[in-house]
């Protein structure tokens, strides 16, 4: 290739590269002189590129918006931290369950009903108070209360058996179905009438007590299911494996009788 041909091809390479033939492309790539000039042109171009003014802050904002989560960019305020939200979810759940229980009054034994029950037991034939108590079949929690009143002569109180005392019974085998129609709705009224001298059938009183115990069991199961459901829901919300391990925690609770305090809850 003559010097003149080289010059012509150099100019064509720089000004009209799209019109280069395959042979000319091969010459540029393979010919030492042409290739040297092409490489010099590339280096000159690379060195001549004027750097653009870059807005680093804007580029960073774009980058962080796209690649860095909002949660990672800013410190999480306490009210948005996972633990706080987790605890809040549980507290709200407990409040809902308690409100449900309170509004339905399903586990209440009224003061007058309890008094009537005690009187009924006192009326059962038997030599002593222990013998009288031995003849009745009451749930453990209610029996304790009745013993306190009959044997220990403690004053009559409103009796709302604590749910935490119930698990002594076999909840898994509880086969009671809540049917509000079966609950002697007017038991409190009827038993209250007993205070005024209306006679009440002892069998009726026992049925009431048994029914109360069944309801008590059912509510314990219901509440346990609620806790389990709340816990699983919270686990799902916060990406935690509910089957990972049981969590034991103390939860503040207030039941429908106004008792309050911390209750130990083991969530499986």
């Amino acid at each position: 290739m003559t010097q003149e041909e080289l010059d012509i091809l150099t100019v064509k390479m720089l000004t009209q590269p799209e019109q280069l033939t395959d042979a000319e492309i091969e010459a540029i790539v393979g010919d030492e002189e042409l290739r040297g000039i092409y490489d010099a042109a590339v280096k000159t171009k690379m060195a001549s590129v004027r750097p653009e003014e870059v807005d680093v802050d804007a580029a960073w904002r774009e980058f962080s918006d796209k690649h860095i989560g909002v949660a990672e960019r800013k410190p999480v305020p306490w009210f948005r931290q996972r633990f706080t939200r987790f605890a809040a979810a549980i507290v709200v759940g407990v409040a809902v369950v308690s409100a449900f229980m309170f509004s339905h009054g399903l586990i209440e034994i009224s003061q007058s009903g309890y008094t009537a029950l005690v009187d009924t037991i006192k009326g059962v034939s038997g030599a002593g108070e222990h013998e009288k108590l031995a003849q009745v079949d009451l749930p453990d929690t209610l029996m304790e209360a009745v013993k306190d009143t009959i044997i220990n002569k403690k004053p009559v109180k409103r009796v709302r058996p604590r749910v935490s005392a119930v698990p002594k019974r076999n909840l898994a085998n509880a086969d009671v179905t809540i049917d509000k129609q079966q609950i002697p709705v007017s038991d409190a009224t009827q038993l209250a009438d007993n205070d005024k001298g209306v006679e009440i059938d002892p069998e009726m009183a026992l049925q009431i007590a048994r029914q109360q115990a069944r309801i008590e069991n059912q509510m314990a199961i219901y509440r346990a299911e609620q806790y389990r459901s709340m816990y699983k829901s919270a686990c799902r919300s916060y990406g935690r494996d509910p089957a990972h391990r049981p969590v034991q925690t103390n939860m503040y609770n207030e039941n429908s009788s106004g008792q309050s305090g911390f209750m130990k809850v083991v969530m499986q």
């Binding site: 590269p17 799209e18 492309i25 092409y38 280096k43 690379m46 870059v54 796209k66 990672e72």
Partner: protein, 160 residues
Amino acid sequence: MQYTVTEFEAIYKRCYPRAVGLAHSLLYDAEEAMDIAQQVFAALWDTRIQVDNPDAFVYRSVKNMCINRINTNNNRERIKKLYAIDTETIDDDIDKRLDDVRDAIKSLSTREQEVVNEIFSQGSTYREAAANLNVSVSTINKNVVSALRSLRAHFKIQKK
């Protein structure tokens, strides 16, 4: 151990301008350069680990990504875009190499420097360069060719 957002922001703001400049020098396209720089920083962030030398990681990654992009072009496309044909010659110390080229350009005649500036830096066509420098297109052709020959000779000597 991964970078905190604050640490990463400091690296980003320190390295981003040079990363974009490097990619711009290799691809001649500002938008593409910024895109590549963002991709490299995204890769660094996504690794979730701290690298020993983040600055070197960024520049090497930008260079490699640019080379990969150049290598997707065949020789005809490379010549059309004036991309390097032999990308293996692009080393990590590209900034110094480009400074050497700038020094070499300064050794050209004034007219050649003007022509090189018009064609390669301003991106003017030969006709525009001729009009701007008040010379003929033929003169521009001659000056470009002579400038490149001089530079080629300069690099050849430097290589030896």
